[in-house]
């Protein structure tokens, strides 16, 4: 028991006094949690998104709005050029393209499933899976809004139609009433007209009668007028005689004058009679004409009434037709409503996914990164272990006392590790392609080329690390602390966008980042290496610079 205690005491002291170990157990959880946390609690936000809107109606606007409001997407451009948008996707300038086709709004109006296509950068498995989810959500939400809008509109229309049907029904009712009234009126009129015909016959007889009488009367009046004229002439003669008589016989004069006055009044009376007779004649004629006119009017009325009756019938027919149509429409709307509810509302989402580079499996996505990881690991570990071993064996120390130059020593090492790396590259590629069905869409020699650069950079980095690491114990403590975070921040499992800015900057220190990006482009997208010439150049510079700095920092002295 006391021996166990002694061991515990000793171990405890050893652990506490090992500064490197203490530093590691304090730093390691922090760094790993941080890196793992950010890598796997992927919080993708503001991904570059292009909206292709061939339709810019209200429903399309709703979609655009929803995309814009989503924290996942950042609309970089709204365009109607699908080809350009897809090109952006291909070159990694955009992660997603929302395509709203031309007939989008119309389809919604027709209660047809409105379709949106989401083109995704499928070369990044994590992003495209997360975007799939996110876009589904966004589009579902906006569709829900749209459906609500549509349903509201339809309901309004339905109500509107109902009102109209009622209105038409009322109209028809009124029209029917009115037409019946008119019909009875026409009947009355016809009866009256028939009566009028009777009267007319009488009237014609009468008029003919009257004409005869008038003719007689005219004859008589003509005779009377003539007589009267004769009498007037006699009276004139008499007057003249009387005047002469008066001149002759003044006594008679007064008598004659009174007589003349009498003659005059008689004359007046006669003239008045003539006039009256003449007037009587005219009135009769006017009366007859009036009757005729009245008769014609009656006939016309009769015809009019018949026409009107016909018109009313037509109107009623029209109204009935309208009514039927309206009713049909209401029924149709009801039906639409039902289908809408069944298909459109329950599943209005017509979201298609199109994968810019095919539907990539997670393994296919990981494969370039795994190859990168293997080679990076081999490059770094091979170098660090080799150099630390040389340092521990004191051979490095011994070599330092020989004329051997640092460039010769590390250059030689570098070339050998590179050669080992190249063999390893061939081996890894053969295994992954033959046995794990890893696909290389682009050119294989480009993959090979990038991996050689990566190997160079890894060996260089290993050289740099080994200037800092003294013992194998430190190697075993610090290497995981360097390699694991390097792997995680280099887009191995998730894109760089998920990490906070400072980690994104750190990622650029890892040669794996460049290899991962370029290799994924070649292996998954099939892009040519020249597209990523900047990263390739960086990888090359990385290899040369890390080797250079490594050699520079490697001391030929021991202090």
């Amino acid at each position: 028991m006391w021996r166990l205690l002694a061991v515990i005491k000793k171990e405890f002291k050893e652990v506490i006094r090992d500064k490197g170990f203490m530093l590691t157990i304090i730093l390691e959880p922090l760094i790993l949690m941080l890196v793992f946390g950010y890598t796997f609690q992927a919080n993708i936000k503001n991904l570059q998104t292009v909206v292709v809107a061939e339709e810019k109606g209200i429903y399309a606007q709703k979609i655009i709005q929803a995309v814009d409001e989503s924290e996942y997407f950042r609309i970089a451009e709204i365009t109607d050029d699908l080809g350009d948008a897809r090109r952006q996707l291909k070159y990694g300038l955009a992660r997603a393209v929302f395509y709203i086709p031309a007939e989008f709004d119309q389809n919604i109006n027709k209660a047809k499933k409105a379709k949106i296509t989401l083109f995704l950068d499928s070369s990044d498995y994590t992003i495209y899976n997360l975007l799939k989810g996110a876009s589904g959500e966004v589009v579902r939400d906006s569709f829900r809004n749209i459906v609500n809008l549509v349903v509201r509109d339809l309901e309004a229309e339905k109500n509107n139609n109902k009102d109209r049907v009622e209105e038409i029904e009322n109209l028809i009712k009124g029209a029917k009433e009115r037409s019946q009234k008119t019909l009875s009126e026409v009947g009355d009129l016809n009866r009256k007209i028939k009566e009028a015909y009777g009267f007319l016959g009488d009237a014609r007889g009468e008029v003919e009668n009257n004409e005869d009488i008038v003719k007689d009367l005219q004859k008589k009046t003509d005779k009377i007028v003539k007589d009267i004229d004769k009498q007037i002439d006699k009276a004139d003669d008499l007057e003249d005689a009387l005047i002469q008589l008066g001149q002759v016989e003044p006594n008679v004069k007064s008598a004659v004058s009174s007589l003349a006055e009498e003659v005059d009044s008689l004359k007046g009376k006669m003239k008045k009679a003539v006039k009256e007779i003449e007037d009587l004649d005219i009135d009769s004629e006017i009366d007859a004409q009036k009757s005729y006119r009245h008769l014609d009017e009656l006939e016309r009325n009769l015809n009019d009434n018949e026409l009107m009756a016909k018109d009313v019938d037509l109107i009623i027919n029209d109204l009935e037709q309208d009514y039927n149509e309206a009713k049909e429409k209401v029924e149709k709307i009801d039906l639409q409503f039902k289908t809408l509810k069944k298909e459109f509302i329950s599943e209005p989402l017509g979201l298609n996914y199109q994968y810019a580079f095919g539907e990539i499996s997670y393994f296919q996505y990981l494969a370039p990164a795994i190859i990168t990881l293997i080679l990076f690991f081999i490059g770094v570990v091979l170098t660090v272990v080799n150099i630390v071993e040389e340092r521990n064996n004191k051979t490095l120390f011994r070599l330092a006392t020989t004329p051997l130059k640092k460039t010769e020593l590390f250059g030689g090492k570098f070339l050998v590790f590179l050669l080992v790396g190249i063999l390893e590259i061939v081996y890894v590629l053969v295994i992954s392609i033959l046995f794990f069905d890893v696909k290389v869409v682009g050119a294989l020699w480009q993959v090979f080329f990038v991996l050689i650069l990566l190997m160079g950079a890894s060996v260089g980095l290993g050289l740099l690390i080994s200037t800092l690491v003294r013992t194998m114990r430190q190697v075993s403590m610090y290497l995981p602390l360097i390699i694991i975070p390097s792997v995680l921040i280099s887009q191995t499992f998730s894109p760089i966008e998920v990490m906070p800015k400072f980690m994104q900057w750190l990622a650029y220190l890892s040669p794996m980042l460049y290899s991962n990006v370029v290799l994924r482009d070649i292996m998954i997208k099939g892009t040519d290496i020249s597209t990523n010439w900047v990263f390739v150049l960086v990888l090359f510079i990385y290899a040369v610079a890390s080797l250079g700095f490594g050699i520079l920092l490697m001391k030929k002295r021991i202090d």
């Binding site: 064996n393 004191k394 051979t395 120390f397 011994r398 070599l399 330092a400 006392t401 020989t402 004329p403 051997l404 030929k556 002295r557 021991i558 202090d559």
Partner: protein, 317 residues
């Protein structure tokens, strides 16, 4: 002793080395003449290895100046490295390679010609008696052979100066013999080596430099040192008798002749009579003649001359 002259090949002038606050070497100065053999002696932590590291340019002195071949070591390190060889304390060879492969590698640093190298490899293999082992991997060899291989790898370049850090530490007697013989028989090579023990140094070293706590405490050839310090230490004679009684009697005899040997110290330890002389004024024979009568009772006589160790112990005190 091989051709010696007084040409100074290494000059160490007031060299100090600090690691952080720790002063490991403090103002050490010494000269090493061409083709001499110098032993750098001191206990662990005395600063021996640090001094060697500075001599090979692996460490820069904090202060002071080192000249090798008359050149400043900092400015001409590349040239100097071509002409010296250093054998670290550790084996420091590639354990996965055979002895020959190691020899090829280290030899290749100096000799570009393949045939010459081949010849030289054979030569050093013979010199260090590892001929039969050249095809073996280093890790399969015993410590002694590994040490010899290590030395072989250093001398393959025909260095003008050979620096060995603890070449005799932790190796078998046979290897010590081989190494000592090799060192002794080397011509035209200046040799510096460190040792924490004094074992057999006196027989091969031309010069001994004692370091203690980073300071040079003593320097000189073994004979000079001996001459200088034997006066102070005298000699120690241990006479072992067959029984304690005789030992006591011998002691009494010494006392009787006190006048004759006023400065000797006497001590009886069981059957041993230990006589410590102060000076060399009295020869062993004279002392022993004092108890001539007891000579048949004497089992053994051991005369311990003053040793470097005594000197070192004395100095360290």
């Amino acid at each position: 002793m091989p051709n010696k002259n007084n040409e100074i090949i290494i000059r160490v002038d007031k060299v100090s080395k600090k690691f952080g606050r720790q002063r490991v070497v403090r103002g050490v100065s010494f000269d090493i003449t061409k083709n001499s053999i110098t032993g750098l002696i001191g206990s662990n932590g005395a600063g021996k290895t640090t001094t060697l590291n500075m001599l090979t340019g692996l460490l820069l002195p904090t202060t002071g100046k080192i000249e090798v071949f008359g050149m400043d070591i900092i400015e001409n390190i590349e040239e100097i490295r071509r002409r010296i060889a250093f054998i670290p304390q550790e084996i420091s060879l590639y354990k996965n390679l055979t002895v020959k492969e190691n020899l090829n590698f280290f030899g290749g640093m100096y000799i570009a010609n393949k045939k010459k190298l081949e010849k030289r490899i054979k030569e050093v293999a013979r010199l260090l008696e590892i001929k039969g082992k050249t095809e073996e991997k280093l890790m399969n060899l015993s410590g002694g052979y590994q040490r010899r291989a290590s030395i072989a790898c250093a001398i393959i370049s025909n260095p003008e100066i050979l620096i060995l850090d603890e070449p005799l530490a932790g190796v078998d007697v046979r290897t010590v013999d081989v190494v000592m013989n090799y060192i002794k028989n080397l011509n035209d090579v200046t040799i510096i080596f460190t040792s924490h023990s004094l074992r057999r140094l006196e027989e091969i070293c031309d010069n001994l430099i004692f370091l203690d706590e980073g300071k040079k405490v003593l320097e000189g050839s073994p004979s000079d040192l001996m001459a200088k310090y034997s006066k102070r230490f005298g000699e120690k004679i241990v006479v072992t008798f067959f029984d304690e009684r005789t030992a006591n009697r011998a002691g009494e005899l010494i006392d009787k002749k006190r006048k004759q040997f006023p400065k000797i110290k006497k001590e009886i330890d069981g059957r041993d009579l230990i006589i410590q002389t102060r000076t060399v004024d009295f020869g062993v024979v004279e002392i022993l003649s004092a108890f001539k009568s007891l000579r048949k009772e004497i089992k053994n006589i051991d005369i311990k001359k003053v040793s470097v160790k005594n000197i070192l112990n004395y100095i360290q005190k």
